[in-house]
Structures are given as structure tokens and as C-alpha cells.
């Protein structure tokens, strides 16, 4: 058991250092701006339909569950407020990160793993390209930019999903619903909760890039890198989320 825990921290440390090097190298010349834009499209824009649809579904379902609970206390009027607080402060950031860990983490792990076992990473090096910077730094930066934006999309779609469910059941107006929803979440609460997702983006990119970049052993190694990227990212995201929530409570006490 002790060895297992030691190995976990050893691997987590390596991945963290790998990601930090990726982040640092992004600010060294030559800046890989075109590749970062390509990655933003691939990791961010192409994830938008999944995030938007998931957000809508989660919003509808959570609204229905919240209604059944609040009805007992005659507090249905609070549904928009409860939904907005739950989404923006915690559910939105974490669910978006877990969805991205599945889609983007698996993709990065498989892509870089495939490049490693087919010698494409060596080919980049032989063409005088810093493969680490070109492949890892660009993905780390793109994920850190995309994650807060996608979380905002998720939150907006979830609150909209809540409105759809609510308006069908109670006939609440658009203006009233959104006015109630946003009255409970001031901007100062939105910022730390959403910005923490940049850390989630960093973790997803760092972990999956580490596993893909260091993949070994042909197709099996690529599959392993892809699967481990999702599993490791998800576990570490949940652990880091707990730590970040404590930090946010400490740093922004008025929001807690």
C-alpha cells in the first residue's frame, strides 16, 4: 500500500514537472502561435457541441431534481438561484473538466502516443523542431485557454436547460428566470470558480501529454496511454478540485 501511494506521488510529480516545463517553454522563442491556434480549434472548438449538449441535459435534469426537493418546502421560486449557484461554483467546472478529460485527454494521449511509436516525434526532432515545445507546450496553453471558455458555455447551457424545464412546468418568464439566477452569483464568485478551470486544463494536457509523449510498445502502448490519460486526469482533477475549493474559500471568503 505504501509503495502504491509512493508510486502515485512519484508519477504525479513527474507529470506536474512535465506540464510546468511545457507551460514555461511556451514563453520561449519561437512562439508556436499558429500551432496553439490549431490546438484551440481541435481541443476547444471541436469540444463545444459535446459541452453544450451535456450542459443543456445536466441543466434540465438538475432543474427537475431541484424542483422535487424544493417543492416540499414551497421554495420553487429559488430553483433558478440554486441551479445557478450549483452550476457556476462547482458542477459546471468539474463536469466540464471531466468531459474534457474524456474527450481531449484520450485524444492527446492517443495522438502523441501514436506519434511516438511511429517515430513522428523523432522525425520532428530530426527536422530541427523542438518536439516538446511544438507538441506539449501548445497543448498545455490551448487547454488552459479553452477550459474556462468551455466551462462558461457549459454553465450558460445548463442554466438555459434549467429555464426550459422550468418554463414548461411553471411558465416562468425568460427575464424573471435569468434575473433570479444571476442575482445569486455575483461576478466576484464567477471569476475564481471559472479561472480555477485553467488549472484543470493544465492538468488534463500535462497528464495526457506526459503519457502519450512517453508511450512505448506499439499499438498496445498507444491504447494504454489513451486509457491512462482519462483515468489519471479524472482522478487528479477530483483531488485537485477539493484543494482548489479550499484555497478559493480561504482567498475569497465572501464567496463561500
Amino acid at each position: 500500500m505504501r509503495e502504491l501511494i509512493a508510486n502515485f506521488f512519484d508519477d504525479a510529480g513527474r507529470m506536474g514537472l512535465f506540464g510546468l516545463r511545457g507551460f514555461r517553454d511556451a514563453f520561449r522563442k519561437p512562439f508556436e502561435i499558429p500551432e496553439i491556434i490549431v490546438q484551440l480549434g481541435s481541443l476547444g472548438v471541436r469540444s463545444t457541441p459535446l459541452i453544450a449538449l451535456s450542459g443543456l441535459a445536466v441543466g434540465v435534469v438538475m432543474s427537475m431534481h431541484t424542483r422535487s426537493s424544493l417543492e416540499r418546502f414551497g421554495a420553487e421560486a429559488l430553483i433558478p438561484n440554486v441551479l445557478a449557484i450549483a452550476m457556476i461554483k462547482e458542477t459546471g467546472p468539474l463536469v466540464t473538466a471531466l468531459l474534457l478529460a474524456g474527450r481531449v485527454g484520450a485524444g492527446i494521449g492517443a495522438e502523441l502516443g501514436g506519434m511516438r511509436v511511429t517515430e513522428q516525434i523523432d522525425a520532428l526532432e530530426s527536422l530541427a523542431v523542438d518536439s516538446f515545445k511544438y507538441l506539449v507546450s501548445t497543448r498545455v496553453v490551448a487547454c488552459m485557454i479553452a477550459q474556462p471558455l468551455l466551462t462558461t458555455v457549459f454553465n450558460f447551457m445548463a442554466i438555459s436547460g434549467g429555464f426550459l424545464a422550468e418554463t414548461m412546468l411553471s411558465g416562468i418568464s425568460f427575464e424573471l428566470y435569468f434575473q433570479r439566477a444571476f442575482s445569486s452569483v455575483p461576478f466576484r464568485d464567477y471569476i475564481p470558480a471559472t479561472l480555477k478551470t485553467a488549472v484543470f486544463g493544465f492538468l488534463i494536457a500535462a497528464i495526457s501529454s506526459y503519457l502519450g509523449y512517453n508511450a512505448r510498445g506499439g499499438a498496445e502502448g498507444v491504447g494504454r496511454a489513451s486509457t491512462q490519460s482519462v483515468v489519471a486526469s479524472s482522478i487528479i482533477l477530483i483531488i485537485v478540485d477539493v484543494i482548489l475549493v479550499r484555497i478559493i474559500f480561504f482567498a475569497f471568503p465572501e464567496g463561500s
Partner: protein, 247 residues
């Protein structure tokens, strides 16, 4: 021998407890074409990767174009690599971009030439490797031989003075293999490029190269042209040559 393009001085390399190269020393002259032969696992590909700095020696020095590869910093290594081309055994084309983009990639990264010049150079290279009109094809749509030719075109994009080729005929039929050999011969003759080929295939090595180096047990077992190797009394050399068909 002419001035050295590549020089190994007592180079050793191990992976874990397995020693691959043991104080290996040799020189390859500028403009020469040399084949490195040997059984699987004798360190042929390792030797090639040491030349371009993809691996570092545990001991000894590797000099390429008068520069000690291990002493170079990142920018020095990049500069050296710009003067070298590497054709990988698996071709290693970037599978997310087209054949033409693969060939243009090193030019876009390393040279400040405008797009029309890059396009012209890519078309010229595609003609040279007989892939005219295949600019927009994706690597996945190419046969093994076409991939090798496209990768060869990419490795020539920056007009390297040293070309390293890892198993050019691996996985190819004899006719396609011969086509690749012809291309390599023409590159060596026209551009006076130093060519180092790692291969199991003696007919291919004989077609392309002036000289052969046979590696065995991490050391050079024999060196010379095919006639010299065939005249050798060494049992290992004889066994290696006799095991090759069509020689």
C-alpha cells in the same frame, strides 16, 4: 578518404545492462556513400540516431560536419540538423497533414522563403521522387513505397549535406526497393551528399554505396567494398554474406 563528414571516436552505448556499441570508432568522408550492415540488434539504427543527436553516447564522441554532437546546445543541434536529413524506417510522415505539407514543413519551419518558392520546391521534390500530383494526398492513402519516397522528399527539403537512411527497403517489394535505391544513387551523385544507410539488404547496399561497414558485437567486424568483404576469411563476415540472398 576525403575530409570526414562523420567521425566516431570510441563511442559506447548501452541500454540498461545491454551493451550495444563498444568503443566504436570510424570515419565517413564528405560525399561518400556508406552502408552500415549487421544482424538485428547490433546497433545499426543506434549508430544512425547518435549521428543526428536523437541518442547520446554513454562515452566517446560523435563528430558530424566538424561539430561534436554531444557538446551542442539546443540551437547548435538545430543548426546541425538543418544540414542533415533522416529517412526513417517507418517513413514517419506526419499523418495529420498532406504529403505536400509534410514536405513543405521543414522549409516553413527553418527557412525564410516565401510560399510560392516553397510550393515550387515541393513540386520539384515530388517530381524528383516520382510523386507528381500527389501534393494533397494524405499519408494514410499512400502505399509503403510512396510513403518512403514522400519521406525521402521531406528529408531532402533543406538540401542536406548528410543524409541518414534507416532500412530503405524494409517492408518493400524488390522493384519498389530498387526504385528507392535509384533515387538515393541519383541524390548521392547529383548533390554530392554524404549518405549513410543502415540496411540488412546487401544488394541494396551494393547498388547505393561505395563502402560497407559490418557491425558485430558493438564493434566493426569488417569494412570495405563488397569485393573486400567477400574476400574476407572472417567466419562472421562469411556467414553474414552467405545468409543474404541475391547478393
Amino acid at each position: 578518404m576525403s575530409e570526414a563528414a562523420i567521425r566516431f571516436e570510441k563511442v559506447s552505448k548501452s541500454f540498461g545492462s545491454r551493451t550495444i556499441l563498444k568503443e566504436l570508432s570510424f570515419e565517413i568522408g564528405k560525399g561518400d556513400s556508406v552502408a552500415i550492415l549487421g544482424r538485428s540488434g547490433t546497433g545499426k539504427s543506434v549508430t544512425l540516431k547518435l549521428m543526428i543527436g536523437l541518442l547520446e553516447p554513454d562515452a566517446g564522441d560523435v563528430f558530424v560536419l566538424d561539430r561534436n554532437v554531444a557538446d551542442l546546445d539546443a540551437s547548435g543541434l538545430s543548426e546541425l540538423r538543418r544540414e542533415m536529413g533522416f529517412l526513417f524506417q517507418s517513413a514517419a510522415l506526419f499523418d495529420s497533414i498532406s504529403v505536400g505539407e509534410n514536405i513543405a514543413f521543414p522549409m516553413r519551419r527553418q527557412s525564410k522563403v516565401d510560399e510560392s518558392e516553397i510550393r515550387d520546391r515541393v513540386e520539384e521534390l515530388l517530381r524528383q521522387v516520382k510523386l507528381d500530383g500527389e501534393y494533397d494526398k494524405m499519408p494514410a492513402d499512400l502505399s509503403g513505397g510512396m510513403k518512403k519516397r514522400a519521406a525521402l522528399a521531406r528529408s531532402l527539403a533543406l538540401r542536406p549535406s548528410v543524409l541518414l537512411v534507416d532500412e530503405p527497403s524494409a517492408g518493400l517489394d524488390p522493384i519498389t526497393s530498387e526504385e528507392i535505391d535509384e533515387l538515393l544513387i541519383s541524390i548521392g551523385e547529383e548533390d554530392e551528399t554524404t549518405i549513410v544507410i543502415v540496411t540488412h539488404n546487401i544488394p541494396s547496399a551494393r547498388r547505393i554505396c561505395d563502402e560497407m561497414i559490418l557491425l558485430d558485437g558493438g564493434l566493426i567486424r569488417a569494412r570495405g567494398d563488397l569485393a573486400a568483404l567477400e574476400a574476407s576469411d572472417d567466419e562472421v563476415v562469411k556467414k553474414f554474406l552467405s545468409s543474404q540472398s541475391g547478393g
